[in-house]
Amino acid sequence: MSKGTMLLLGAKSDIGRAVAHRFAAAGYDIQLAARDSDTLEATKTDLALRHNIAVTTHDFDVLQTDTHAGFVDALPALPDIVVCAIGLMGDQIANEQDFEAATRVMRSTYEGPAHILGLLANRFDARGAGQIVGISSVAGNRGRAKNYVYGSAKAGFTAYLSGLRNRMAKRGIHVLTVLPGFVNTQMTAGMDLPEKLTAEPEEVANAIFNGLRKGRNIIYVRSIWFVIMTIIGSIPERIFKKMNI
């Protein structure tokens, strides 16, 4: 028996796939959304076979904001939960030199996700129920030379989620902000990440599932990241600007 429906935006990402499996294992029907949704067929079949739930796939392009309302209207049912796992890191050097590359990162990471979640929030509000999960990043906590284009977009997204939570709290709609820290995914493949600080996608998915159950507002998947970001956040700017972290 279905526990409800979860809409996953960004179904091709490793974290997205893990999130889909976690909710499907708990009995949720799943709506998978991504660009070129025909490539989601294998994931769809796999989810349905493993968890004996209903899965649908949907074309969704976060950059085509004018199509977002139509996308929501075309869903077989307004979901109970939406999880947004969309973001684009890009290459920092390219982002510094190429205006279009930077714009793409900003729009994919902030504008598009904010737009679709805002739209769904309004629909949830009209219905009077719903849960919203935005996967942001610790990169948004403080801008660093190494990835500030991506980081600034995540900062915007984090602030957006915070505001949305503030607005919706009085309306019975919950917003969860997820700040995963390093995660072992295709996005980070080839990077030399410290093992103790790096979560597996399944760990992120579990943290999201449990965080929603407990009604948490902001979660760091590994709590060490809260400590790290508190320290990084407290370094005075005159020192921070000379650092190389």
């Binding site: 294998a42 079949t45 004996n52």
Partner: protein, 441 residues
């Protein structure tokens, strides 16, 4: 580069890893040769450590189709056996053959052609594999079965990943009436008694014996023999019968035996073996056990392989033909107990007939022992190798971590043929593990 080892933690080698999530990724990962596919790393030794690169298969783990009427499953090689059970046991389907852990991948099960407690009746996993898709060195995928590309099919099953990369497979699950096993256990005072009991138990679906390999003299080989049948709902308690495919929550279940020792030494192993035997004798008779406790007792103790500490441990598993089994087993157990080496877990199992290209099982008896990875134990295992050779036995590659190439080739004339077939498949340079290099395969 990270240090990589098998389940035994010995040996350990620096390894470069690839984590493909698509077929195209996989083709790229194997393009430069000298690679081996790795499932969930449950082979004990160096079977799944690539010579140049190790290709981890857990990203290729989609279930593709399942027929609830016939129990026919199509899935990618990286799918875990645990997930097969979780998905299909609620519908009344169970793996037709299962090794002692559910944390293995389908690809790994096929590559090692695993056997279970029902080998004497149903044979190895091979008997339930209908077809395979195997990627060759150039990235081309070959569909193979018993009639089409039959050679590739036959040599890939039990081929330890050395004929190509198993991508996906079509396998047949078995229908079961519940998630429970009716277990009948019996304490047997010595090796002769346990063999006689095995020979009288060929009608049982499952049979396995735990051997006290510390006892000597008249008690040499005393054992607890455990037979099992899938239980029907009417045999179960009311609660279990109402939901025959559900088992109690793991957290509520008692661990099958507790770990009373912080250190494994000859004293604690001796004490454990004695306790286990007397406990088994006291609890002899019929009991109902859920599948997880029956088939996978060690899975409940996460990381049990760490009990030997950092040095790791080694497994010795051989099979002896029926004619020589009694003498051979006696010699193996005597040598082990005289060395005061007493293995923590010693398992004896009767095999039925087996017809396959390079798989481990054959009609006879298989004995599995484990030892800490120390020079003294390596010397002891060499003696056990010789006894096995003297009795026309052979060795399980999925357990091996230290055998000499001469031993393998002397025990198994099929090894030379396997090497030849690898040549024909163009797999000799492309697919190489630390084990295949060590054993001249």
């Amino acid at each position: 580069m990270t240090d990589l080892s098998g389940w035994g933690g010995f040996p350990s080698h620096p390894a470069t890893l690839a984590n493909p999530v698509t077929q195209a990724d996989l083709a790229r990962a194997i393009a430069d040769g000298a690679v081996i596919a790795r499932g969930n790393g449950r082979a004990y030794g160096d079977s799944a450590i690539g010579l140049r690169k190790t290709v981890q298969m857990h990203g290729l783990n989609h279930m593709i189709s399942f027929d609830r009427q016939s129990g026919f499953l199509v899935a990618e090689a990286g799918v875990l056996l645990r997930d097969v059970i979780t998905a299909f046991l609620p519908h009344g389907w169970f793996p037709p053959v299962t090794p002692g852990t559910k944390f293995v991948t389908l690809g790994g099960m096929i590559a090692a052609d695993v056997h279970g407690k029902n080998h004497h009746k149903d044979g190895s996993f091979r008997n339930f594999v209908d077809w395979l898709d195997v990627m060759d060195a150039s990235g081309v995928v070959h569909h193979c079965n018993r009639t089409q590309n039959a050679q590739l099919f036959e040599w890939t099953i039990g081929g330890m990943g050395l004929t190509g990369v198993i991508l996906r497979a079509g396998i047949r699950l078995r229908p079961v009436p519940s998630a429970w096993i009716r277990q009948t256990s019996q304490a047997l005072p010595n090796l002769d008694a346990v063999i006689t009991a095995f020979e009288g138990a060929d009608a049982a679906t499952y049979s396995v014996a735990w051997i006290d390999c510390v006892s000597r003299g008249a008690s040499l080989g005393r054992s607890i023999l455990m037979l099992g049948e899938h239980a029907t709902p009417d045999e179960l308690s009311d609660d279990a019968a109402r939901y025959p495919f559900e088992i109690p929550d793991k957290t509520k279940r008692t661990v099958p035996f507790s770990m009373p020792f912080s250190l494994l030494n000859s004293l604690s192993v001796r004490a454990f073996n004695g306790l286990y035997y007397w406990n088994g004798r006291r609890n002899a008779g019929i009991s109902f056990v859920d599948y997880d406790t029956y088939f996978y007792p060690l899975d409940a103790i996460l990381g049990w392989n760490k009990i030997y500490g950092r040095r790791g441990f080694m497994q010795f598993q051989c099979v002896l033909p029926l004619e020589t089994a009694r003498d051979g087993l006696r010699a193996l157990l005597k040598t082990t107990s005289l060395a005061g080496a007493g293995s923590f877990l010693a398992v004896l199992k009767r095999f039925g007939p087996q017809d396959s290209a390079f798989s481990f099982p054959m009609l006879g008896y298989t004995l599995a022992l484990d030892f800490p990875a120390t020079p003294g134990m390596i010397a002891l295992m060499r003696k056990l190798d010789q006894i096995t050779l003297d009795h026309q036995g052979r060795f399980y590659l999925a357990k091996d971590s230290r055998m000499a190439p001469d031993t393998l080739h002397a025990s198994d004339p099929r090894a030379a043929q396997f090497k030849q077939m690898r040549q024909e498949f163009g797999a000799t340079d492309a697919f190489q593990s630390k084990q295949s290099e060590r054993l001249f395969l």
